[in-house]
């Protein structure tokens, strides 16, 4: 890999000219996203006067966007010094911004089709802070972006060790920047793997989206078909139950196909790499993403499976990093499907001591069954009964829901357990799907114990462990146990000198 000289990065410089195209594309996208209903209506019901109006507006929009993208591009400069990334931008309103490296949480790459075509990347920087500051340099040559990323990450380590090492008189020498060289490929998902994963995704959600989409368009469909035909179609649907079932089945198949297509596009050529600093993930076809996760920043690990995934031996894996709340989605490193081997590697990297520790296993209180039956059985069935009151006695048909929910949750409670050790926690729950969490105590930011009135009477509590990457809850623990656990975890946090990030 070509090495970029540090000195070159320290001069104010512009991004790659591809940025102009990127800015243009983004402007167009926003316009089309807000104006597409107008376009659809126009094509269905063209009116001649409207046409010339639209043409004028379109030309004006194109001109203004092009000029504005050019201006933005020519007035954007960036450069690095020892401690910060400096940005200068704006023509009318000049802005000078400095981003200290130690406030930078993650540096990721994204590539849209345009980027991929020209072999440039968009450098995305997330900073610490509750406002959720995100920043990006929209187009850079790949070597340059990698050099910048390496430099920032290595400077962060040097600064961190300088702070810890007060005695040392050695100053870190600035050497020519080199891109990460040691990378081990842990996983690469083929199209077949992605199809397996797509098969095991949540199809109900896709169906929900399709139905919502169709309802949204119902007015336009009505205009398209004309009022009479529309009435006939809906009447036909209402009377033929059989047709409805066939349609539902067709819907399911369509949703399955759409999910498969979406999964393949989103995670195309998914690669998981292990680097010296942590992990790297590259994925996507139309938009190619490159995310990196430093070991230090990973707060907790989650993995989950469901019956279909288990058939293929697959797990979904989530690496939750330290994040400001506004950018949580980007800081979640999500691996849509991997095998036991990768889960183990990730666990070992995050928590090397785990294998040698002794974990004691604990169950939660069976009273949780009562709460879940209330929320998922009693209240919904009462609600459904009320809604179907006009069916008379038939509305009682919702009552059997309650014992079904009870039995389900009885097994749910049996499969909920947590494991405690001196250094960390493991939880496992779920009946049909199974979710597991691994958390090191020193990553915890604060602990809370919560009790509802019902729980207070039974001496039970929910205990919450909050981390910078999300929280972990153990519900319905005996109060004395929860208190002892809280005291212990606080002790561990307060004596542990390690940095949690």
């Amino acid at each position: 890999m070509k090495t970029i000289n540090l000195a070159a990065l320290q001069q104010p410089q512009r991004q790659s000219p591809v940025a102009i195209l990127v800015i243009l594309q983004r402007l167009f996208r926003t316009l089309i996203r807000s104006a597409w209903p107008l376009l659809v209506v126009y094509f269905i019901n063209p009116e001649k006067t409207f046409e010339s109006y639209l043409a004028l507006i379109a030309i004006g929009v194109v001109l203004i966007s092009s000029i504005s993208s050019l201006i933005t591009y020519f007035n954007f400069y960036f450069y690095l010094n020892d401690e910060e990334l400096m940005i200068q931008k704006g023509w009318f309103n000049k802005t000078n911004r400095n981003i200290p490296f130690d406030r930078i949480q993650t540096v990721n790459f994204t590539q849209s089709i345009i980027h991929q075509f020209f072999n440039v990347v968009s450098l995305e920087i997330d900073t610490a802070g509750s406002k959720g500051n995100e920043f990006s340099i929209k187009a850079l040559r790949r070597e340059k972006a990698e050099a910048i990323r390496s430099f920032i990450l290595s400077r962060k380590e040097i600064v961190a060790s300088e702070q810890a090492d007060e005695q040392s008189d050695e100053m870190a020498t600035t050497s020519p920047v080199v891109a990460d060289t040691v990378e081990e490929e842990l996983l690469q998902l083929s199209v077949l793997d992605l199809l397996k994963i797509g098969f095991s995704q949540n199809h109900l959600r896709t169906i929900g989206i399709i139905i919502a989409f169709l309802f949204g368009l119902s007015d336009y469909i009505e205009e398209l078909l004309g009022k009479d035909i529309y009435k006939e179609v809906t009447a036909f649907l209402n009377s033929n139950v059989q047709t409805i079932f066939i349609l539902l089945f067709v819907f399911l198949i369509i949703s399955l196909l759409l999910t498969l297509v979406r999964t393949v596009l989103q995670y195309f050529n998914f690669i998981l790499l292990k680097t010296e600093q942590g992990f790297k993930i590259k994925s996507g076809l139309l938009t190619r993403n490159e995310q990196s996760a430093q070991i230090q920043k990973i707060q907790l690990i989650q993995w989950s499976t469901n019956p279909i995934k288990r058939l293929f031996g697959l797990f979904s894996l989530y690496l939750r990093q330290a994040a400001s709340t506004a950018v949580v989605r980007k800081q979640l490193i999500y691996i849509p499907g991997c095998y036991q081997e990768q889960v183990q590697t990730v666990r070992q990297t995050y928590f090397p001591e785990e294998a040698d520790l002794h974990f004691t296993s604990h169950q939660i209180s069976p009273y949780i069954i009562g709460r879940r039956v209330l929320y998922y059985g009693l209240l919904p069935s009462l609600g459904l009964m009320l809604l179907s009151l006009d069916s008379g006695w038939l509305s009682l048909g919702w009552l059997p829901l309650i014992p079904v929910v009870y039995v389900y949750n009885w097994y749910y409670h049996r499969k909920w357990f947590y494991e405690l050790s001196d250094q960390g926690l493991r939880t496992q729950k779920g009946l049909i799907g199974q979710d597991a969490v691994l958390l090191q105590w020193y990553k915890v930011q604060s602990v809370s114990i919560q009790q509802s009135i019902y729980q207070r009477r039974k001496s039970l509590a929910d205990i919450h462990f909050y981390t910078a990457g999300g929280s972990v809850v153990i519900p319905f623990v005996e109060l004395s146990k929860a208190q002892a656990l809280m005291n212990f975890v606080l002790y561990r946090i307060e004596i542990d000198q390690r940095k949690w990030m």
């Binding site: 330290a322 207070r456 999300g470 929280s471 606080l490 946090i493 307060e494």
Partner: protein, 173 residues
């Protein structure tokens, strides 16, 4: 037995549940009451035009609406004193404890070496009673941040200085 093979005697650890909690300032319930009065007056003001302008007042069950309004106001007022009895905080050597909540009781503990920053806030009603609130932020998200209201006079600022000193002493992130 919570742990085996642990070289730490769990009974020797400091216990959150045994820590005596400080109450908030005695004037604080007045702040809560005033807040309630304002809230329900606004609600009432919104309801009045709805009542007179729409057909709501002609509905046979219409009288339920003002009844609910009165009921809610009375319950909130009653809950103020209960809530005040539950609310309490404590500063220990290495962390801060805060308890609150009538229906859902929550005790939160933030170790000083995990504090991101603190703020002292004071609303207009609080200012009138010479009270302020202390907000302690962590990196753990909003649910783990603390807000201790009803601290008299300088207390909130003093606590803030104390916590900042303790946080700096640990030299964590």
């Amino acid at each position: 037995m919570l742990f085996e093979n642990s070289h730490i005697d769990l009974d020797q650890l400091p216990q959150v549940e045994a820590t005596p909690l400080q109450s908030l300032a005695p004037a604080y319930p007045k702040v809560m009451h005033i807040g309630n009065v304002i809230l329900y007056s606004i609600l009432g003001l919104i309801l009045l035009p709805v009542w007179f302008k729409t057909e709501l007042s002609t509905h046979p069950l219409a009288y339920i609406v003002p009844l609910i309004w009165v009921f809610l106001y009375l319950s909130s007022t009653f809950l103020v004193s209960w809530s005040y009895r539950v609310q309490g905080y404590a500063i220990r050597e290495r962390d801060i404890i805060y308890r609150r909540g009538v229906f859902f009781r929550k005790t939160t503990v933030i170790p000083f070496n995990r504090v991101q920053h603190c703020e002292v806030k004071q609303g207009p009603v609080e200012r009138f009673f010479n009270l302020s609130s202390l907000e302690v932020y962590t990196a753990g998200g909003q649910s783990s941040d603390l807000r201790i209201p009803g601290l008299a006079g300088d207390l909130a600022s003093q606590l803030k200085s104390f916590i900042i000193k303790r946080t700096a002493a640990h030299e964590d992130h």
